[in-house]
Symmetry: C2
Subunit: 181 residues, 2 copies
């Protein structure tokens, strides 16, 4: 039996990213779940951001940002950066996170996140209460301690988590599923 | 220590959706990981699809589709529908899946998936090798057996999984993280 529900953004699970962006006084961080890989070549991502968010202004000025993937150890910073405004807080300082220079873009990376994705803004698409920022990935960094011997991401080392918009919950990853190929 | 890497679509984890779409002879299914919630109001999603995929044609004709969220029991169907073409296979029949009528759109839902999201295509945005389909969510269905007593999605009942583009692996969800609010 299926139950019919009002329409809502029901894709689950969703990624969680900490978007870092250059600012005038200090760089800012915003937690986003409306975020996705969208194209392999050129490697492109999209993030949905409300027009009234402080980071909306900052990205419009900087024309770039970094998507930083948090681990379960950064849940508190993830929640803080998703609920507070950079107009009121220096979130790097409040969360004890360290901005470090990116290779290609003006926005800093978050040192404590094991995966950092440097992005250059390509276009802003109005959708509704969120606008969609389309960006090209220009560089990726991964912590050596989350890589296996062949240099590939090892999820037994990087303790990632995911967001469930339908319930507002965060869930850790469990086990690798055996492919049937 | 961070290692610098070539640019690629490095957001992890990614959702996995089975997109079902009406067809001339039979409806089709395509597995997608380039998929995201992007806007709360109107509730909107985006999916990235290569121009040469059969479902690209079908969605362009139908002007709608359904995003069906698979469980770990449907891993085989997920892999089959991601690697085979609807030009060569009736994937519903091959995978033993059941198309059932949607409430609002012409494309059918997949009965065996516990979450079904009816979507109407709004625009197609060229990005690169993938085009981005922006769509509005017009109805959501969830199986009664994945809901808790209050009618909310219960992830201890719905065994969801996630995709890791960086490694090509599927991972189950683990545990609910305790919010620090």
């Amino acid at each position: 039996m299926k139950r019919e529900m009002r329409p809502f953004t029901a894709i689950v699970p969703s990624p969680v990213v900490l978007l870092s962006v250059a600012g005038e006084d200090y760089p800012n961080i915003i937690t986003l779940s409306w975020a996705a890989n969208i194209c392999s070549k050129p490697p492109s991502v999209a993030v949905g951001i409300r027009q009234n968010r402080f980071s909306y202004e900052l990205i419009s000025k900087a024309n770039d940002f970094v998507l930083n993937i948090p681990t379960v150890d950064l849940l508190e910073a993830t929640e803080f950066s998703g609920s507070k405004s950079g107009r009121d807080f220096n979130k790097f300082a409040e969360c004890g996170l360290t901005p470090i220079p990116s290779k290609t873009v003006s926005s800093p990376m978050i040192k404590e996140c094991p995966i950092n994705i440097e992005c250059i803004k390509k276009q802003i698409l109005p959708i509704g209460v969120h606008d969609l920022f389309i960006a090209e990935v220009v560089k990726v960094h991964m912590n050596e301690d989350v890589l296996d011997e062949e240099g590939h991401l090892d999820l037994t080392k990087a303790k990632l988590f995911t967001y469930i918009p339908a319930t507002g919950q965060y869930w850790s990853l469990g086990d690798k599923l055996e492919s049937l190929d």
